[in-house]
């Protein structure tokens, strides 16, 4: 069962992701702003993340690539807006395979009794941009089994 909740409403160019971590918020914040830590968790395990630059400060820029064993490489870059803090890490995000399609991401960390709730709001330029990003930006094959349909129907039944 997945613990990351993802909400995408029809007609609204936005995706909201939430997840709770069993760690204090300063540590979760560090994992988001220290590139040495970031590369250890961002993306699927079979992709290698390489950071070119990661200037976590107001106006600072960042760029990293994610590559697979077959040698395919995907570049991403953006700019930090405001000095990142646990209350708000604000940055733009652009997939270099689709230049000009820029997303604004705001990550906020809330501590709850030693645990930390991460909430990320991604605002896209249009609903079509959002859907394209989700459909093609995350370049991973998905096993096309009927299982997910069964899961969805089970979810529909329970809701």
């Amino acid at each position: 069962m997945s613990k990351t909740s993802i909400t995408a409403e029809p007609g609204i160019p936005m995706i909201i992701t939430t997840r709770e971590f069993d760690a204090p918020r300063d540590l979760v914040f560090r994992a988001h702003t220290d590139p040495d830590l970031l590369v250890q968790w961002l993306g699927p395990r079979d992709l290698t993340t390489t950071v070119d630059r990661y200037e976590a400060r107001n106006g600072g820029t960042w760029r990293y690539t994610q590559s697979d064993a077959q040698g395919n490489s995907y570049g991403f870059h953006g700019v930090f807006h405001g000095n990142p803090s646990p209350d708000a890490i604000v940055q733009t995000f652009e997939f270099e395979g689709a230049p000009g399609h820029v997303c604004l991401q705001t990550a906020a960390l809330a501590e709850r009794g030693g645990r930390t709730l991460l909430r990320t709001v991604s605002a896209f330029q249009s609903v079509a941009d959002r859907d394209a990003m989700v459909a093609s930006g995350m370049e991973r094959g998905v096993h096309d089994s009927g299982d997910r349909l069964a899961e969805l129907l089970a979810r529909l039944r329970d809701s």
Binding site: S2, P10, L37, A135, L152
Partner: protein
């Protein structure tokens, strides 16, 4: 998948009555009367919901004698779940790794013990910006 169709499917799924209708149809085709039965709703009201589901491609409708039968069409549901599953999988796996890293950091292994082939490049290679 076309974004417009995705919106139609999401719009159709946004309503609890329509989700309940789909759930019922997962067990087999049904008439409007059969679908209306569990709800405190008139058949015309159910028919309106069926129209929305049909426009989204989530059901198809055929005639059996005098009754109109509704049938679940699984493909748009599969497309929607595939669409979200991709994104879901990316973040599930990232956050799982973050969980492990946070645990390792808290256990006092400051460099993190999560296995990783990741590296941080010291030199900024601007030419990489053109790389796809």
């Amino acid at each position: 998948m076309m974004a417009d169709r995705l919106s139609l499917v999401f719009g159709a799924l946004a309503d609890p009555t329509r989700r309940a209708i789909l759930t019922r149809l997962a067990d087999g085709d049904a008439t409007v009367a059969e679908l209306a039965e569990p709800f405190a709703m008139s058949q015309p009201a159910i028919s309106k919901h069926l129209k929305v589901l049909e426009q989204a491609g989530l059901i198809s409708r055929t005639r059996r004698a005098t009754a109109r039968l509704s049938r679940l069409e699984a493909e748009p549901l599969r497309e929607v779940t595939t669409w979200l599953a991709r994104y879901q999988r990316f973040w599930d796996e990232s956050h799982e790794r973050l969980d492990e890293l946070l645990a390792a950091l808290q256990a006092g292994q400051e460099d993190g013990s999560a296995p990783s082939s990741a590296t941080v490049k010291e030199n900024h290679d601007e030419q990489d910006l053109d790389h796809r």
